[in-house]
Symmetry: C2
Subunit: 336 residues, 2 copies
Amino acid sequence: MDKDLILLGHGSGGKLSHQLLDDLIIPALSAIPLSGQNDAAVVEHDGRRLAFTTDSYVVDPIFFPGGNIGDLAVNGTINDLAMMGAAPLCLSVGLIMEEGFSRKELAAILASMRKAADLAGVRIVTGDTKVVPRGKVDRIYINTSGIGFFAHDLQINGCRAEQGDKVIISGTIGDHGIAILAAREGLELETGIESDSAALNGLVLELLKEGDAIHVLRDPTRGGVATTLKEIAVQSRVTIQLQEAELPFKAAVKGVCAVLGLDPLHVANEGKLLAIVAAEAAERLLARMHNHPLGAEAAIIGTVSGVSDGRVQMETVVGGVRAVEMLAGEQLPRIC
Amino acid sequence: MDKDLILLGHGSGGKLSHQLLDDLIIPALSAIPLSGQNDAAVVEHDGRRLAFTTDSYVVDPIFFPGGNIGDLAVNGTINDLAMMGAAPLCLSVGLIMEEGFSRKELAAILASMRKAADLAGVRIVTGDTKVVPRGKVDRIYINTSGIGFFAHDLQINGCRAEQGDKVIISGTIGDHGIAILAAREGLELETGIESDSAALNGLVLELLKEGDAIHVLRDPTRGGVATTLKEIAVQSRVTIQLQEAELPFKAAVKGVCAVLGLDPLHVANEGKLLAIVAAEAAERLLARMHNHPLGAEAAIIGTVSGVSDGRVQMETVVGGVRAVEMLAGEQLPRIC
C-alpha cells in the first residue's frame, strides 16, 4: 500500500475517505471547512439560506434491480438536500459517456431520471455532456448537483445530537448495497433483493412538522449506518448506543451478509434516513414515518447515551456490547 | 457509423452535440427546454433569479501549458455563470479518480482550483470524491457546478442579437485548443502557446456598466467561435457577418492550424468571450475591454447584418464571402 497513491478505499465513504478529505482535499480547497461532514453546504446570500450539493455516480452495473444509475443520481442528490432540511429546488446533470455507448440505454437512463425528478417534484434545469474515447470511462458516469431552499429557520445538522435523543431509521438496512452486489454476481433471481433508491424529500417534509425536535437527519449511503452514525457521534461529541434487536433487516439481506461475511451496518442504503430526535417527540415521529410509504418499516434503533469524543456501540442480541466503527477499507467498490 | 451508438462527435460541442441534445437529452429530461443554448439555467425562486450551471472536465493531458484540469474546471464554470450576466456565488467540486492516481498530482490540481477560485473571488463550498478501479476512468475527471446571483435586472441571453449589433471578441482565438493539441503531441516547446484559461467574471462586471447595451455574452469553448456564433444566430434568427481581417490570432496558433488543416474558428477557447452589443456602445465597450488585463487584445470582429433563420458568414481577406458553420465532427476529443 503506497501512501502516495489514491486507493479504492479513499472512495468508500468510510475511514480512508475521511482521512483523504481531512488531510488533503478540505485544507486544499477551502479556507473554511467545506460542507464539513454534512450532506450539503448551506450558503447564505442576501439574507437567505440555500443548500447546495454535488455527487458523482459511478455505480456498476448501471442497471440493477430497483433502479439504474439515472434515478439513483437524481434521488441521491435530492436526499443530500433533504437531509439538511432543505426543499430541493432544481438539479443539474453532467453526463460522461464512452464512445460507443448505446443510445437506447442512454434514453432509458434519462427517462428514469425524469421520472424520479417528477416523482419528487424537482426540476432538472441544466446539463452537460462529454464523450470520451472507448475505454476512458466505464460506459457512463453521472454527476448531479442540486440547489435547495429552506422553508423554515430550523438548524438540522450533524452537530446537534444530544444526550437522551433517540435514533430512528426509516426502514430496512442494507438493501441497496446487497442489490448491487447480487446484480454484479448474477444472484438477483435467487435473492429477490431490490435497491431501496428513493427520494426522501417528501418524508422529510412530514418529519419537519415536529419542528425543532429534529436534531440530525442523514442518509446512510456509502459506508452504511455504522459510518454515518460514527460521523454524527464525532461531530456532536456524543456516544450513540444501538440495540441490535431493534435493527430492521430484510431476511435475504441478512442472509447474504452472513454468507459473505459482510457487516450489514457497513452496507450502503439509498432510500433510508437516520433521524436523531428529541426523546419526547420520538414516538410521534415514528408514527409519522409509519404513515408514509417510505417509512413503513421505520424503527427506533438506539439512544444518544452520553457525552464522549464520538463513539458508537451496540448492545447485541446476546446481551454484550460491541464497538461500531466506520468502514475501514473498501467493501464494495462502485456502489453508487 | 452506427446511429444507435454514442460517437465522439456527440461530445464535440458542435453539430452532433446539438443533435443529441435536441433529439434525445432535452426532450427526455425536461418538460421545458433546459438551459436551452445558454451557458447556465436561470431559476426563479422567491422573487429572485439564480443562475445554475454544471460542467464535467475530461481534458487530456491533465497538466498543460497555462493550466491544468483543476483551474480549467473552476474557470469554466465561473465563465458559464458570468456569460448570463450573473455574479458567481459558490462552486461544487466532484472528483472521479482512478485507483493508483498520485496524491501529489491531486494536491497540485486542488491547489490550482483554490487559487483560481480565490483569484475570481468565488468560494468552493461542497464536494464529492469517487475512486474507481484502475482503468475505469482515465486518471481524473472533475465536475464543477456553480450558483450565481444577479445584481441587476438585465436579460442577457442568446436570443437578443439584433440587426445592427456589433460582435466583439475579448482576445486572441484558439489558444486553449492549440495548447492542448501541442501538449498532446509534445510540441509545447516549439510553439510556446499557452491555454488562455481564465475566469471572466471580472471582465463581465466591467462590461455590465454599459447596462442594456450588452445583448449576448458567450464563451466560445468546445466548437469554437464558429459554433458559438452559429448558436446565437439560430437563437436570435439573425445573420452574423464576420470580417476575417479583424480576427485576432497569435501567429503560432495560426501557424499550427495552417499546418494541420484546422479551422481556428472551430478551436476551443477557455478565457475569451464573445459580446454582441448595441452598435452605439460598441466602441465604449471595446475601450472597457482594453483597460482590463483579460481584454487587452479585444477586437470588433463583425456585425449582425440582417434577419434570417440563423446564418454566420465571413468576408474573407481576399474580398469573398464564405459561410461559417458549426463544427461538424470531432476535431480534438477531450479538449476540456
